[in-house]
């Protein structure tokens, strides 16, 4: 096994161009598991953990650009205000050891429908930045992930960063697992309120081949808010609307039965998470007005 350890992004991209078969490794919390399970034996490994450019994040007019190598622990510590939904999702990932190593770049690289980093990115319509020696392209995350554990990365490309809007309202992330920590999502739900645009953005995780946006449910709630003038009055949404939102989110789920849970349970739980998350986010919005 050849082990490449470039010291800069430039050299990393050159290495990838020269060795398109090389498998990138960031935190290694997915890749090493695969190797231990004997599910793949890369000829060449490209270690990105020493590439400084990947471990940086910066503000870009209303957006945040986060390097693919920023760990969950840092997202929690440094981006809790700018990207609260992603920070909440990061808190649900694995254990302290995993959060110290694991990265959202790796989560994107794996493209698992259960990846906890993905629903917040989907909800906020993040763009994934893909770089090669030939240049950089930006792809909406929902186009980047093409199926379960499949994505649009080309052999000569690396994920260099993702870019998403700074939060302008409350965000939530909730995840159901059978154990109270260190668990792969049975299903999950990410939500972002964008009061300035009158938008509600939501995404289901781990209940379909990819994360799933819920446009009908979102439009429904937006309608409820608009109709009641709730964005302005910060009045209550009402139980019926919350429930209806949960049901419409349920309708978008496309789960399967597996060892972690039945499809029926996932559908049920998604509805509960959606209803509760919207309630919490809305409560926070209302309190924000006090």
């Amino acid at each position: 096994m050849e082990f490449l350890r470039p010291p800069s992004l430039h050299e990393a991209l050159e290495a990838k161009a020269a060795h398109p078969e090389a498998v990138p490794i960031s935190g290694g919390t997915d890749l090493m598991v695969e190797i231990n399970f004997d599910r793949g034996r890369p000829e060449t490994v490209l270690d990105l953990s020493r590439v400084p450019e990947l471990a940086e994040w910066e503000r870009e007019n209303g957006h945040v650009r986060v390097g693919a190598g920023v760990t969950y622990e840092r997202i929690i510590a440094e981006l809790g205000e700018a990207l609260p939904g992603l920070a909440m999702a990061s808190r649900t990932v694995g254990s302290p050891q995993i959060r110290n190593r694991g990265t959202v770049g790796g989560n994107l690289g794996t493209s698992s429908p259960a990846g906890d980093g993905l629903p917040p990115l989907y909800a906020s319509e993040a763009e994934v930045e893909l770089s090669s020696t030939g240049g950089t392209r930006r792809v909406p995350v929902s186009e980047f992930v093409t199926g379960p554990k499949r994505n649009a990365l080309r052999p000569d490309e690396l994920i260099s960063a993702f870019r998403m809007p700074r939060a302008t309202g409350p965000q939530q992330y909730a995840k159901v697992g059978t154990r109270n920590a260190m668990v792969i999502a049975v299903c999950s739900f990410g939500l972002a309120l964008c009061p300035e645009r009158g938008r509600v953005e939501a995404c289901i995780g781990s209940a379909g081949p990819t994360p799933i946006r819920t446009p009908e449910a979102e439009r429904f709630v937006e309608g409820v808010m608009e109709e009641g003038g709730l964005w302005e009055t910060r009045g209550p949404i009402g139980d019926a609307a919350l429930r209806r939102f949960g049901e419409m989110v349920q309708a978008a789920a496309r789960p399967i039965d597996d060892v972690r849970g039945t499809a029926a349970y996932r559908v049920h739980a998604i509805g509960v998470l959606a209803r509760r998350s919207l309630g919490w986010a809305w409560d926070e919005y209302r309190r924000g007005g006090e």
Binding site: R179, N180, T262
Partner: protein, 802 residues
């Protein structure tokens, strides 16, 4: 590019003696391996290395049931770095093994009966090479029908796994006259219960190092539970006399019953003898799931009859256990399930039938609790059901029927010595309950779902449940159960030293500490050295059945007493003292507190050594009606579980587990608490999480990604009350400690879940699906928007359109 580093490997292996100054019995003594384990310095069996060592690997069947038509080894044999490729043809001796019934192939010949059954072996210079060589072996399988459950196995016309059929054992117990008693029963409750397949999930996977001695014999360093039963089976299958197969215990990372059967032992020795090189085999976690037996899944049908005042009149029970493909210890497990099927209660009449069958599922055998875990879930669920039907407090009902000294079990055996079932329940009842789920903002970590942010208090309901359980200590049904200890008292430059040598396996339970405490107490010598366990001394029996402190602790005690007698005879002779009045204190012989002579002086250059065998009272097999004094003694424990359930999501946070247990005598209180907390955690795991999921003979979750063990956020604090009611027949009056907590925890947790949800919950582990009332199984029709009565609301578009 970086190069693989080569670190020098040693030329000798094997653990050394553990020398320390323990406290006496009754004191909390820190285990000497505690700090090295926490700091990573402890050598587990998987850490051993030796110069010129090869790596062994095992080819396993991907099919749960298949015929093997042919095997092509040529590509593996031709691979550079491969030193041996072996099949059943290379097994030098008996081709089958098994502790009770040798029915399990060392390597399969023409048929495989479970997924993961060993088929061929490879030894290579590097573990990677060995793995690749396995991948190049071609096996021509013809896939056969799978017998996927015990019921299926026992049905008419089922394919037979072994020549004498699929029924491995039926234990039948007839006690009193149940038919006549039925008339007296004013209230009857029936229930069906089921328990899934739990794994021991010890943290150190199977591993060992076999070293050929150059004269046709072999030394095996291995993590196991019972060196001598391994040695017996190794000698048979290697075709060698016992003295040419020597075993030494190496660092064990937990056992819980899962190391009682052989795993890699014969394989590593075969490869070592064949290649004349040391061979190490280490399973990874996935292979470990296929490499050892599991807890028996069990289906139970119960009927309890009682008077209106809550007195049990009769119990009928039918238990069906899935033994998997090979016998392992199934025949003993099923007998335990039957003997303890009525629980620690006075049951005057009982009709009990327990069956264990061969199936194409993973073999099942010993696991902490050994048959008593399954039935405790059954009878305690029934007791709650009965209490509810009678409108009685569940503790009251249990107290009314609690077994006590002198009660006869359904086997006719009379309970000798204290049976503090009522006391344990009273203790629990007296313990204050933890605070209720208060309002306000609570730490997410204290809520169901934990850090996953699923509830901020919504849907959370508190539940409380109780259970009490018991089981036998030591081996039953007439087995000649004994332990051997060799103790040597000598004088070194640093003063007197006691050396203790037994073959008993320290599997984490704290045996080394207890052996040393006993020697210290009995001989009054500060420095004790516990030698590595090996087969150079007689058998100690297994570190199982909660028996090792009782049996091997007892043997050490007897050996010390023998040494003391010899010493006192010498002192009496030389100093004209009455031997009866002598005692040992702080390295001296004293008489009524008066110094007589220092040990250094009296022993001089003549150490005293004694080897003693300790046997417990004789036990007897059961007759056709299941009658007989099959057991040595019993251990009892009770649990109270307090849970918070998110009844909408079916997620659970166990708030507290409280327990009361009679341990007879706590030799090392800290270790006793450790055993109780560990057993309680393993019980919580069974109640909520831990299950090997098997479909059509295939394991679906052979990894810790999907076989979930409780984390620190799942396991609450344990409130422990330890009773010390001496067992009259036992050394120091002690009882076994390790298993009871694993028995009474699961039903207590499930009872609390029932209390919170009002659901029946007949199956363990209880999945979120069951807690919210969604059946496991294929998805039903999805709920449609509007189905919950909000149809009139419609979407905004729809409303605008109207």
């Amino acid at each position: 590019m970086t190069r693989a580093q080569t670190t020098p490997t040693p030329t000798r292996v094997g653990p050394g003696p553990t020398t320390f100054s323990p406290g006496g019995i009754g004191e909390s003594v820190r285990r000497p391996d505690g700090v090295p384990k926490v700091t990573g310095e402890f050598e587990f069996s998987s850490d051993m290395r030796l110069d010129g060592m090869l790596w062994g690997a095992t080819l396993r069947s991907p099919h749960p049931s298949a015929r093997i038509w042919s095997m092509d080894l040529s590509r593996a044999e031709a691979m550079p770095g491969v030193r041996a490729v072996l099949t059943h043809e290379d097994v030098p001796g008996r081709k089958v093994y098994g502790m009770e019934t040798p029915d399990q192939p060392v390597l399969a010949w023409d048929r495989v009966r479970y997924q993961g059954e060993p088929v061929a072996l490879v030894a290579a210079d590097h573990p990677e090479t060995a793995k690749r060589a396995l991948g190049s072996i071609r096996v021509d399988y013809e896939v056969l029908d799978v017998v996927s459950s015990a019921e299926e196995a026992l049905a008419e016309g089922a394919p037979e796994l072994h020549p004498s059929g699929n029924l491995l054992r039926h234990v039948r117990i007839r006690h009193g006259d149940a038919e006549a008693a039925e008339a007296r029963a004013e209230v009857v409750v029936r229930g069906e219960y089921e328990i899934g397949m739990q794994d021991q999930a010890f943290l150190g996977p199977e591993s060992g190092l076999a070293v050929p001695d150059g004269r046709g014999g072999v030394d095996l360093y291995v993590a196991t539970q019972w060196l001598h039963v391994d040695q017996d089976q190794l000698a048979e299958s290697l075709g060698l006399p016992h003295d040419m197969v020597r075993l030494t215990l190496s660092g064990v990372g937990g056992a819980f019953g899962g190391r009682e059967d052989l795993s890699m032992q014969v394989h590593a020795c075969m490869l070592a003898l064949h290649t004349e090189r040391p061979v190490k085999i280490v399973y990874d976690r996935e292979e470990s799931f296929y490499g050892h037996v599991h807890r028996h899944p069990c289906k139970m049908r119960y009927e309890h009859g009682a008077t209106r005042s809550g007195e049990l009149v009769y119990v009928r029970a039918s238990l069906v256990l899935d033994g998997g493909a090979y016998a392992s210890s199934s025949t003993a497990v099923v007998a335990n399930a039957a003997r303890f099927a009525c629980g620690p209660y006075r049951v005057p009449n009982a009709v009990l039938d327990a069956y264990v069958a061969y199936t194409n599922n993973p073999p099942c055998g010993a696991m902490r609790g050994f048959g008593a875990v399954q039935t405790c879930f059954g009878y305690e669920s029934q007791m709650d059901k009965l209490a509810e039907k009678l409108g009685m407090d569940p503790i009251e009902l249990r107290l009314r029927n609690a077994m006590k000294e002198g009660t006869r079990l359904p086997t006719g055996q009379k309970i000798e010595g204290p049976a503090p079932v009522a006391e344990l329940l009273e203790k629990l009842r007296e313990m204050p309950l933890p605070e209720g789920p208060g309002g306000g903002t609570r730490d997410l970590r204290e809520l169901p779902g934990g850090v996953s942010n699923t509830t901020h208090g919504e849907g959370v309901v508190r539940g409380v449940g109780y259970a009490v359980g018991f089981k036998n200590v030591g081996f039953s049904e007439g087995f000649d159960d004994y332990s051997t200890a060799r103790v040597r008292l000598s004088v070194t430059d640093d003063g007197p030293l006691v050396e203790v040598h037994t073959a008993a396996a320290e599997v984490g339970q704290g045996l080394v500490t207890v052996e040393a405490q006993i020697a210290r107490t009995e001989l009054g010598v500060e420095k004790v050295s516990v030698l590595p366990a090996d087969t150079r001394v007689g058998s100690s029996g297994s570190s199982s059945a909660s028996r090792q402190t009782y049996m091997t602790g007892g043997a050490v005690k007897l050996a010390c007493e023998a040494i003391r007698r010899r010493l006192f005879e010498t002192v009496a002779e030389r100093h004209g003292e009455d031997p009866e009045g002598l005692a040992l204190e702080n390295g001296s012989v004293v008489s009524d507190g008066r110094f007589v002579v220092a040990l250094d002086e009296i022993l001089g250059a003549e150490p005293i050594e004694e080897t003693v065998v300790h046997r417990h009272v004789e036990t007897f097999p059961l007759d056709e009606d299941g009658q007989g004094d099959a057991d040595v003694t019993y251990a009892f424990s009770a649990h109270r579980a307090v849970v918070d359930v998110d009844v909408e999501l079916g997620l659970v946070r166990v708030v507290e587990l409280a327990t009361a247990q009679d341990v007879g005598k706590a030799l090392n209180p800290q270790a006793v608490e450790g055993q109780i907390e560990g057993g309680t955690a393993q019980g919580l795991g069974l109640a909520l999480l831990e299950e090997i999921q098997v479909r059509d003979g295939r394991v679906l979750n052979a990894s810790f990604t999907d076989y979930l063990l409780p984390t620190i956020l799942d396991m609450p604090p344990v409130r422990t009350e330890i009773l010390e009611l001496a067992d009259p027949g036992a050394p120091y009056g002690l009882r076994g400690v390790g298993e009871p907590p694993n028995i009474s925890t699961p039903p207590a947790v499930v009872a609390a879940l029932r209390d919170a949800t009002g659901r029946e919950l007949p199956r363990m582990p209880v999945r979120p699906e069951a807690l919210v009332g969604i059946a496991d199984g294929p998805p039903r029709r999805r709920p449609q928007p509007g189905s919950a009565g909000y149809g009139t609301l419609g979407s905004l578009e729809e409303r605008r359109d109207q």
